[in-house]
C-alpha cells in the first residue's frame, strides 16, 4: 500500500521520507501477523507443550516414556516397518516414475500423451478411493483373482492385509509428483546433449548414468523427501490395506489413542515420528536452497 503511494506521481518529498524502511517492515509484519499468530497458537504451542508433556511424569522431568518406546519390541517393530515401507515405496515410486519420465521425454504421439495422463491420474484420486479400489481389485475374491481363475490359475494369494497391499497403494498414489518433477528436469537436457554423448561412443546406460541422471538428481532428492514424508505419516492406506501387526505409525498412534486411550504413549509415538520427519524435511529444505543458489 505504502509502496504504491510513493510511486504515484503527486507525492511530496516529505511523504517519501515518511515511508522509510521501518514503516515498510511494519506493514510487512502486519500482513504476516495473522498467519504467524495462527501458526504459533495452533501448531507451535501445542507441539511444544506436547513435547514437554512427554518428558513429564507426575510433575517431574523424566525420559521413561521414551525409554519404554525404544525398548518395547512392538513399538520398535512398528517404527521399523513404517521406515522400511516408506523407503521401499518411495524408492520404487521414484524408479517407476523415472522410467515413465524418460519414456515421455524421448517419445511423442498419442500413446505418450495417454501414458502422461495416466501417470497423473492418481493426483485426482483420494487415498480412501484408492484403498477401496485396491481391495475390490486385489482383495480376496476380487476382480484380479477372478480373472486369474478364468485362465486356470487358482493359487492366488492376495496382497490385501500384507505389507504389499499398502506398498502398491503408496507407489500408485505417489507417481504423479516425481513424474512431473523428473519430466521437468529432463526437458532441461537438450536432444543435442544426448546425441553428443551417443556420437562419442556412449551406450544407453552410460548416457542415463552420466548425462541424464545428474541433471535430475536434485529433482529426485526433492521428490523422495516429499513422498517419504507422505508415506510415513499415512493413515488411510495402511489402515485399509495393511497388516494388523506390525502396523504403520499412523495406525499405531490412532489405535493407541482411540482404542487404548493411552494419550501419553500416543504423544511419544507422535514426537518420534515428528523428529524423523523434521530431519527429512530439513534435508528437503537444504536441497531446495542449494538448488536455488546453485542454479546458473
Amino acid at each position: 500500500m505504502i509502496r504504491f503511494a510513493t510511486k504515484s506521481g503527486g507525492n511530496t518529498p516529505g511523504h517519501l521520507q515518511r515511508t522509510g524502511p521501518g514503516r515498510e517492515a511494519l506493514a510487512g509484519l502486519a500482513l504476516v501477523a495473522l498467519p504467524v499468530a495462527m501458526l504459533l497458537m495452533l501448531t507451535l504451542w501445542p507441539t511444544v507443550s506436547m513435547v514437554i508433556a512427554t518428558f513429564t511424569v507426575d510433575g517431574h522431568m523424566s525420559t521413561s516414556r521414551y525409554a519404554y518406546f525404544f525398548t518395547d519390541a512392538y513399538s520398535l517393530a512398528n517404527l521399523r516397518f513404517t521406515m522400511v515401507q516408506g523407503l521401499v515405496s518411495a524408492l520404487s515410486a521414484l524408479a517407476i516414475s523415472f522410467g515413465i519420465a524418460l519414456y515421455l521425454r524421448f517419445s511423442a504421439g498419442r500413446i505418450a500423451t495417454m501414458i502422461h495422463a495416466l501417470s497423473l491420474f492418481p493426483l485426482f484420486v483420494p487415498s480412501i478411493i484408492i484403498s477401496y479400489a485396491l481391495v475390490r481389485f486385489l482383495g480376496p475374491n476380487g476382480l484380479f483373482q477372478l480373472l486369474l481363475e478364468q485362465v486356470g490359475f487358482t493359487h492366488y494369494r492376495t496382497p490385501y492385509l500384507t505389507p504389499v497391499g499398502p506398498f502398491l497403494a503408496f507407489v500408485w498414489e505417489a507417481l504423479p509428483l516425481p513424474v512431473l518433477v523428473i519430466s521437468a528436469g529432463l526437458t532441461q537436457v537438450s536432444d543435442h546433449a544426448v546425441e553428443a554423448a551417443r556420437d562419442l561412443g556412449a551406450g544407453p546406460i552410460r548416457i542415463l548414468w552420466e548425462v541424464l541422471l545428474p541433471q535430475v538428481r536434485r529433482s529426485l532428492l526433492i521428490a523422495f523427501a516429499l513422498i517419504f514424508l507422505g508415506i510415513i505419516g499415512a493413515y488411510t492406506v495402511p489402515y485399509m490395506l495393511g497388516p494388523a501387526a506390525p502396523e504403520m505409525m499412523g495406525v499405531f498412534m490412532q489405535r493407541t489413542l482411540g482404542n487404548l486411550h493411552d494419550a501419553d504413549a500416543a504423544q511419544v509415538q507422535a514426537v518420534v515420528l515428528m523428529v524423523i520427519s523434521s530431519v527429512v524435511g530439513g534435508f528437503y529444505i537444504a536441497t531446495m536452497l542449494k538448488s536455488q543458489g546453485g542454479e546458473r
Binding site: 546433449a193 551417443r198 556420437d199 561412443g201 552420466e210 548425462v211
Partner: protein, 353 residues
C-alpha cells in the same frame, strides 16, 4: 576416405536428401552449403549415424558404415548449440569420449590437457560450461571431438550462433588446426563466405539434391546449374528467347551460339563494362563499398541491373550509360548450356541502311 553413395532420406514422405553422392579425400575440408532446409544437416546426421539413411551407402576408409550405430562410427560431431553437459567441468566434458573408451585416468588427463592446449583453453579445465563465453564453449565442443581422434570430424553450423568477428577468427583457427592435424572434415554452413574461406571443396545442396561439388573458385566462375549460379555470389539474370543465334539481352541484340528456345543469361556484376553498343540503363544508386563501387541501374523495360566497377569509373546517379557483358552463363531448364566469353553484339535491324 569418405564415400557417400546415392544417399536418400525422407521424413514422413517428404524427401530431405535425394540420391546424394560424393567422395571426400583424406585431410580434406568439405563444406555442405545451401539454404535452410536444403538437407545439408540431415546429410551430416546420416554420416554421423544419428539419423538412418533410407537408401544408399556410406564408407569410411573402405569400411561400410551405412548400418553402424552412431556410437560405433569413427566420426565425431560438433553441434550448433555446443551441447556441452552443464554438470561436468570442461575437462570432464572433453574426457567423456575417452572414459567411454575405457582409457586409464592418467592417460585421459594427459590427452585432455594436450587437446585443451591445442584449442587454447589449457587453464579452463576446472570451469563449468556456464562459466564460458560462446566462443570458448564451442572450442571445448571441438576439443571434445578432437580428443577421440575421429577419422572424420563433422561440424553442424558450429559458429552460426556467434558474432561476426568471433566467427572469422574461429574460422581461421579451425582451418589451421584442421591442416595441422590433417583431419578430414565435413562442415555444414548456410554462409557462403564461411564456406568459400574454409573449404577445399564445396557441396552445394538445394532441395535435398547435390547441385555441384567443386572448389570454391570453380563454383564461382563455372556454376553448372542455375541454382548454384544464383546462390553463389551475385548475378544479373536476364530471361530471353534465343532464335537463329540471336538473343535480346536487356534490349540489346547479342549474337550467341545457342540452340533456339528460352534461355536464362546470367552475368556477374564485375563482368559488365561500358560499351556504346551495350544495353542502355539509368543509374539509380551508387554505393561506395571501399574496394569497389556498386552501381544499381534500371533499364527502359524496368529490369534491374547491378554493376561493380572501380571507384573512378563510377557514373553519377541518373546518368544514362550502356553496358555489355564480358562473360555470360547461359542456362536452360536449370542446366548450363554454355559459358560465353566476349559475346558480340548482333547487327541491329536497319543498322546498315
Amino acid at each position: 576416405m569418405l564415400q557417400i553413395d546415392t544417399i536418400s532420406k525422407a521424413f514422413a514422405g517428404t524427401p530431405a536428401v535425394r540420391e546424394v553422392s560424393f567422395t571426400v579425400e583424406r585431410g580434406e575440408l568439405v563444406c555442405l552449403l545451401g539454404p535452410s532446409g536444403c538437407g545439408k544437416s540431415t546429410l551430416l546426421r546420416v554420416i554421423s549415424g544419428l539419423t538412418d539413411a533410407d537408401s544408399g551407402s556410406i564408407r569410411i576408409e573402405g569400411a561400410d558404415m551405412t548400418r553402424a550405430a552412431a556410437n560405433r562410427r569413427p566420426t565425431a560431431m560438433v553441434f550448433q548449440s555446443h551441447a556441452l553437459w552443464s554438470h561436468m567441468t570442461v575437462a570432464q566434458n572433453v574426457g567423456f569420449g575417452l572414459r567411454v573408451r575405457g582409457l586409464p585416468k592418467a592417460e585421459i588427463a594427459e590427452k585432455v590437457g594436450a587437446v585443451l592446449d591445442l584449442v587454447g583453453l589449457s587453464s579452463y579445465g576446472k570451469r563449468l560450461p556456464a562459466e564460458l563465453s560462446g566462443g570458448q564453449a564451442q572450442r571445448v565442443a571441438l576439443a571434445r571431438c578432437l580428443v577421440v581422434e575421429p577419422k572424420v570430424l563433422l561440424m553442424d553450423e558450429p559458429f552460426s550462433a556467434l558474432d561476426a568477428h568471433l566467427r572469422k577468427s574461429l574460422r581461421e583457427e579451425l582451418k589451421s588446426l584442421q591442416r595441422r592435424l590433417d583431419l578430414t572434415t565435413i562442415f555444414v554452413t548456410h554462409d557462403q563466405e564461411e564456406a568459400m574461406e574454409l573449404a577445399d571443396r564445396i557441396v552445394v545442396m538445394q532441395a535435398g539434391r547435390l547441385e555441384q561439388f567443386a572448389a570454391p573458385g570453380s563454383l564461382y566462375r563455372n556454376p553448372q546449374t542455375l541454382g548454384v549460379a544464383q546462390f553463389i555470389g551475385a548475378m544479373n539474370t536476364c530471361t530471353t528467347a534465343v532464335a537463329q543465334g540471336q538473343a535480346n539481352w536487356y534490349g540489346t541484340p547479342l549474337r550467341l551460339a545457342l540452340p533456339d528456345g528460352e534461355a536464362a543469361l546470367l552475368c556477374r556484376p564485375e563482368d559488365l563494362f561500358q560499351d556504346p553498343q551495350g544495353a542502355r540503363a539509368r543509374v539509380t544508386r551508387v554505393i561506395d563499398l571501399g574496394p569497389v563501387t556498386k552501381v544499381s541501374l534500371m533499364t527502359a523495360d524496368g529490369d534491374l541491373l547491378t554493376w561493380t566497377c572501380p571507384r573512378e569509373a563510377a557514373p553519377d546517379v541518373d546518368a544514362e550509360i550502356t553496358l555489355m557483358p564480358r562473360r555470360l552463363h547461359a542456362f536452360r531448364d536449370g542446366a548450363l548450356l554454355s559459358l560465353i566469353e566476349r559475346p558480340e553484339p548482333a547487327l541491329r535491324e536497319g543498322a546498315l541502311a
